[in-house]
């Protein structure tokens, strides 16, 4: 259903994504790994059409996505939701309003200008929040939520779009292991229960292994691995990350068991100095 064909993106001299070709024929949960600067984000942004490709095409169910313009392009974006590492919510607006932004493409500009959404949409938004376990936060401002909760709001916004594809650009990189697990679990559930395709950039091997059906490895803009989690051996990982023999998988881990969260310990043993009033 999704064909990415020799997709290339250049920034000046720099080729961020280099003739990436991917073909997906049924809704799958795909993890893209690779080290920083490998071109993962750029690839996802081109699929969502947040940025234009320099060369190559993306085709979805026979439609050429890369050729879409104006309203058609926006309509595609609404069918292809995106989740960001920094959540990219509107922090000063309440949670439900943020979720309702998922419907913007369907509503007229005028009514949304005044924040007027149909009641059915509002109820739907709260139901989605409930599904993600954060319905109680509905009336709060987004900025008042913890990182994990904010990311779930972002997922709720994505679900509100009722998309065929969910793109997630390092959705758990800003989260602690506990929240990371909740968020990845949510994405997996959405994939399994709703049958939506999920493509997630991940920066840790074990997460990709655990949650994805298929893993794509990128290095310097090129796709250097494409296979099942089982095929992803430590040797292959070393190639993807371009690491030497000293490469230890644990260094990229975010799993709770292996990670002794440093921030927490550091905080208790290094108190802020108390100044007299």
């Amino acid at each position: 259903m999704l064909q990415i064909d020799r997709l290339t993106k250049r920034f000046g001299d720099k080729t961020a994504v280099d003739a990436a070709t991917i073909s997906v024929d049924k809704p799958t949960m795909i993890g893209i790994i690779g080290r920083s600067g490998a071109g993962k984000s750029t690839l996802l942004r081109m699929v969502n059409r947040l940025s234009d490709a320099s060369e190559g095409t993306i085709t979805f169910e026979g439609e050429e996505i890369t050729a879409l313009r104006g309203a058609a392009k926006r309509h595609w974006q609404s069918r292809c939701a995106m989740i960001f590492q920094q959540f990219n919510l509107v922090p000063r607006m309440d949670v439900v309003s943020n979720v309702l932004h998922g419907t913007l493409n369907r509503r007229s500009t005028l009514s949304t200008m005044f924040n007027l959404y149909p009641q059915s949409d509002i109820h739907k938004a709260i139901e989605i929040l409930d599904r993600l376990g954060i319905a109680e936060q509905a009336p709060k401002r987004a900025e008042a939520l913890s990182g994990g909760q904010q990311q779930r709001v972002a997922i709720a916004r994505a679900l509100m779009q009722n998309p065929k594809i969910i793109l997630a650009d390092e959705p758990i990189a800003s989260l602690d292991p506990m929240n990371a697990q909740v968020v990845m679990q949510s994405l997996r559930t959405i994939h399994e229960e709703d049958g939506r395709m999920v493509i997630a950039n991940l920066h840790t091997l074990d997460t990709a292994r655990r949650y994805c059906d298929r893993v794509i490895g990128m290095r310097d803009g090129r796709i250097v691995f494409d296979g099942t989690p089982a095929q992803l051996t430590t040797g292959v990982a070393r190639d993807i990350y371009g690491a030497g023999a000293d490469f230890s998988e644990a260094a990229t881990s975010t799993e709770i068991e292996t990670l002794d969260r440093p921030g927490v310990r550091a905080r208790t043993s290094t108190p802020e100095p108390v100044h007299p009033a």
Partner: protein
């Protein structure tokens, strides 16, 4: 470190400190030199000489006191009693202050044993403790008196005019008229003028007592007489303050409404056309540079005197200022939020509405409200130029220098007004920025 290195380091440190000292002395030195130049350029020594402390004292004492004039017209022999010597403060026929007595001989007790007597045939007797009785006869333009040759400096006398100033009051005599000024603390006639039936009535009587003026109820009558008080002109003052605030409000809000869309044109992020952007920015610079003062003058020709002219002058200048501030705020918006909204397939206007506006609104509101307060002050000054509001009343009162208590009153009102607007803007800021979207 070796000894040689250490010596070198020490030398370097010495150099460093020499340089720092040079700076430390240099900057205050330049400032001092500049102030010295100003000292002479502004002629401060001459100013110290010319400074009129008497004026300052008059100003200070007059602002909390008033005087009552007792005037005899030496041609007609008529005697008038008037607060501040003003027509509207004149005692009605048959009434006079309690410290004046007598019919043939009018005796004015200034207090502290100071007494002035208006005798028939334009003669005047003045009793001041420690001086012999002063006797003055007015005839035509001439005055004859028994004043001695060497006089204390609080008496000024010539054959045509005598003026005596004591702590109890002031007496001036000329051929044409004889006048006594008796000073009292307080703002007389602040509530009611002498011709109002409510003058001198206690608050209790007005609120609960019998009907004082048979034609009107006490409270509406009193309110109307106070409102129309000719001496203190409460109605005009309230209108003037209203006009001043109105100028600030209309100017600030109007400027904000105009500047917001223009700011998008001037912000690099939102306006791809370089030429348009540069043109908008130059426009902002121009209207700001011309300054409210010149705009006031230019607009006064088109719209005439009044609050609208002042409001428009503020509006035009602040459009430039807001445009600049707003476009800077727009350039600093966080791209993440816009991207988040765009990724859902939002239309351009929706992107601005949800990606940009919620971010900049707090910044803009804070600025607008800050300017609302500071423009209240500007409106006071602009009013003095364009003819409107409390600013004009204040300048007129100061320039004609008649009643410093009025000046003091206006000043207090202006400060109260500005502080009130400061409070309102702070309150609104808390209310609106503390609130979502």
């Amino acid at each position: 470190m070796t000894t040689a290195d250490l010596t070198l380091t020490k030398q370097e440190a010495d150099t460093l400190f020499r340089r720092k000292r040079l700076m430390a002395f240099g900057i205050p030195g330049v400032v001092t030199l500049y102030l010295a130049y100003i000292f002479f350029a502004f002629d401060l020594p001459g100013l110290a000489q010319r400074a009129n402390l008497d004026n300052a004292i008059t100003l200070a004492s007059d602002s909390w006191s008033h005087k009552v004039h007792v005037t005899r017209d030496n041609r007609s022999g008529d005697i008038t009693y008037a607060v501040e010597g003003e027509r509207k403060g004149t005692y009605p026929d048959g009434q006079r202050p309690a410290w004046v007595s007598g019919d043939e001989v009018i005796t004015i007790a200034l207090g502290g044993e100071h007494v002035v007597r208006y005798l028939p045939d334009n003669r005047t007797e003045i009793e001041i403790p420690g001086l012999p009785l002063i006797d003055v006869q007015a005839e035509g333009r001439k005055l004859t008196s028994n004043l001695p040759q060497d006089l204390p400096d609080w008496i000024s006398a010539s054959s045509r005019r005598i003026s005596i100033t004591t702590p109890e009051g002031r007496i001036t005599l000329t051929g044409a008229r004889t006048e006594v000024f008796n000073y009292f603390p307080g703002w007389e006639l602040f509530w009611f003028t002498l011709d109002s039936p409510y003058h001198g009535q206690s608050l209790g009587t007005i609120l609960f007592g019998d009907r004082i003026d048979p034609a009107r109820g006490n409270i509406p009558g009193a309110v109307s007489d106070w409102w129309n008080n000719a001496m203190w002109r409460h109605k005009d003052v309230v209108w003037a303050i209203g006009e001043t605030i109105l100028m600030a409000f209309l100017g600030t809000m109007g400027a904000a409404l105009i500047a917001l869309p223009l700011a998008f044109l001037a912000a690099k992020r939102f306006s791809p056309i370089m030429l348009l952007r540069a043109a908008t920015r130059r426009l902002f610079d121009f209207v700001r540079g011309v300054d409210a003062l010149i705009w006031t003058v230019v607009l006064a020709r088109a719209f005439g005197p009044g609050p609208l002219t002042g409001a428009l002058a503020i509006l035009i200048t602040d459009t430039g200022t807001f445009g600049k501030i707003f476009s800077e705020a727009l350039e600093n918006v966080d791209q993440k939020q816009i991207e988040g909204v765009s990724s859902t397939g939002a239309k351009p206007l929706q992107r601005y509405r949800f990606g940009v506006i919620p971010q900049v609104v707090p910044v803009l509101l804070a600025q607008i409200l800050y300017f609302l307060e500071s423009n209240t002050r500007s409106a006071t000054i602009i009013g003095a130029i364009t003819g409107g509001g409390i600013g004009l009343m204040l300048t007129q009162a100061i320039q004609t220098q008649k009643d410093w208590e009025e000046v003091a009153y206006y000043i207090m009102l202006i400060i109260a007004m500005v502080m009130f607007m400061d409070w309102v803007s702070g309150w609104l800021r808390g209310k609106m920025i503390g609130r979502k979207d």
